[in-house]
């Protein structure tokens, strides 16, 4: 029953997201534009940077944009459509439906990585080679999990806000900057690096980059993987607590309207 709800929510969410022009931009056009921009910026930086920074950076920027402009705003869109109260009160459980929406969005958003890769190969003949393919797949699975959980925290935080659109816009670039999507976080000032280290996508991106170059230190790889999972677990706990708090507040106030 729960899996059926999760699956049908995922499929429905993918269809709903794809018809929105902003999501189509984030998913289809954004990775192409970012790949061209980053390629031109990294042209003199050496070939080894293309896959790790241009393709991966542009793809992940597209993925994060999709999450920011969809998962973060979906609750607001349900409110606008008048269906928020219905899905909140449904016996299928509200968190399960939100999780289905987020997983659907995140899986569909992975297409941006593929589009970025195809753009780089077709337009710029970027050589395609993955140093450690199996570890890359493991890192990618970890990345998806990390993004799903971080999206659920953001979705919870924005449930009762009337300024979702502002926060959606303000979340995009800071996270891309802090997590080092297109440059190593080591170039940031030490105080900012401390903040970066508290964000699980930072580790996810480092793992993806390590596996693209080819993992030479397996212990370091799994160590980073463990840290990423630990932080992601903390986010999951935070998301659960936030949901319980919102649920209690909504039941006392008997309204899902914005604060």
């Amino acid at each position: 029953m729960k899996l059926a709800v999760l699956y049908s929510t995922m499929v429905l969410q993918m269809k709903k997201s794809f018809v929105r022009p902003m999501f189509r931009f984030c998913l289809l056009a954004n990775p192409i534009l970012n790949t061209i921009l980053l390629y031109e910026m990294f042209r003199t930086a050496g070939e080894e940077s293309f896959l790790a920074y241009v393709v991966l950076g542009a793809g992940l920027m597209g993925l994060w944009s999709c999450i920011c402009f969809s998962s973060a705003g979906d609750i607001n869109r349900e409110r606008y459509s008048g269906t928020l109260a219905l899905i909140f009160a449904t016996p299928a459980s509200f968190p399960l439906i939100i999780l289905g929406k987020i997983i659907g969005n995140t899986l569909l958003s992975l297409l941006s990585l593929l589009i970025s890769l195809v753009t780089a190969v077709l337009l710029f003949r970027v050589p395609l080679s993955i140093g450690s393919p199996l570890l890359f797949l493991a890192a990618l699975a970890g990345t998806v999990t990390c993004f799903v959980v971080i999206s659920s925290v953001i979705a919870c935080l924005l449930t009762l806000s009337r300024k979702t659109e502002l926060y959606m816009n303000c979340l995009e670039i800071p996270i891309i900057l802090l997590c080092g999507f297109v440059f190593p976080v080591s170039i940031l000032p030490p105080a900012v690096q401390a903040l970066s280290r508290a964000l699980s996508p930072t580790y996810a991106i480092e793992l993806l980059r390590m596996s693209l170059y080819g993992v030479t230190d397996l212990r370091l790889f799994w160590e980073k993987f463990g840290i990423m999972l630990a932080i992601t677990a903390l986010y999951a706990i935070l998301s659960g607590l936030l949901y319980r708090r919102i649920d209690r507040r909504v039941r006392i106030a008997a309204t899902l309207e914005v604060a």
């Binding site: 189509r24 921009l37 910026m41 042209r43 003199t44 440059f183």
Partner: protein, 259 residues
């Protein structure tokens, strides 16, 4: 007439900003664009392996105006339709040009502030040296750039009458501006067709003119500035002509949209 123009401009601004507290409004108008500026300067410092970020501070400071001029103005008619005022505007027996310009007044002012603030932050954070730069000419270049970008934003706003995918269009244009204005990498890296497109777009000539102010030989400064003003004037005329066409179509067909 002039008083009504400024009152209308204030009302448009109030309509766009009333939902936000002052600090949120500042975050939206200045904070987020500045983080974008820092982000692209960090990419440039890493990819071009340079500490001299003057060209990127200039380019990205000019691009800061896109938030106000492109997104703020471009969505005007989309918003009017959303709030149900499009009918009143089209059928009102008043001149439409002052109405459109009133819509862009505050956006252009905020765009100028954002650009000026971008230069200030650029000099403080990235150590861009303004000694020896003629500040009056720099201010004049900013005004010309904002005029051109605002006119371009007005033309984009007209697309709201022929398309329901304005978020897609505006974000696409924003991406194209980043690639083709020479803000992020030298235009000489682009193919001939790309360089031609760059000359048609707003901001390209202002960015080049501002870069010249940092050089001992100002060379083509005045022709570039005149070119930027001419580009803006062409966009303003196109926007005005397009609006007239849309207005006639609306009166003839009894519909407010051409899609």
């Amino acid at each position: 007439m002039i008083r009504r123009f400024f009152h209308q401009a204030y009302l448009y601004h109030k309509g766009r900003s009333a939902a936000f507290h002052a600090e949120e409004f500042i975050l939206m108008q200045l904070g987020y664009p500045l983080i974008s500026l820092i982000f692209y300067c960090l990419i440039a410092s890493y990819s071009f392996r340079t500490d001299n970020l003057t060209a990127w501070i200039i380019g990205n400071s000019f691009l800061l105006c896109t938030h106000a001029c492109i997104f703020g103005l471009g969505i005007v008619f989309d918003s009017e339709r959303y709030f149900g005022r499009l009918r009143s505007i089209l059928s009102a027996p008043c001149k439409k040009l002052p109405l459109i310009l009133a819509n862009g007044l505050y956006s252009a002012l905020f765009a100028m502030c954002a650009s000026g603030f971008g230069f200030l932050v650029g000099s403080l954070v990235f150590g861009v040296d303004f000694t020896g730069v003629n500040l009056a000419l720099a201010a004049l270049t900013i005004v010309c750039a904002m005029f051109s970008a605002t006119c371009f934003g007005l033309l984009l706003a007209m697309f709201g009458m022929i398309s329901d995918s304005m978020h897609f269009i505006l974000n696409l244009v924003n991406g194209l501006l980043m690639i083709f204005t020479g803000a992020e990498f030298p235009l000489s890296q682009l193919p001939a067709a790309g360089q031609l497109l760059a000359q048609i777009l707003p901001l390209t000539k202002s960015i080049a003119a501002m870069n010249l102010l940092f050089c001992p030989d100002r060379g083509n400064f005045w022709p570039l500035l005149a070119g930027e003003l001419a580009t803006g004037a062409v966009y303003a005329l196109l926007a005005w002509g397009f609006f007239g066409f849309v207005e006639r179509c609306a009166r003839r067909t009894g519909k407010f949209d051409l899609f």
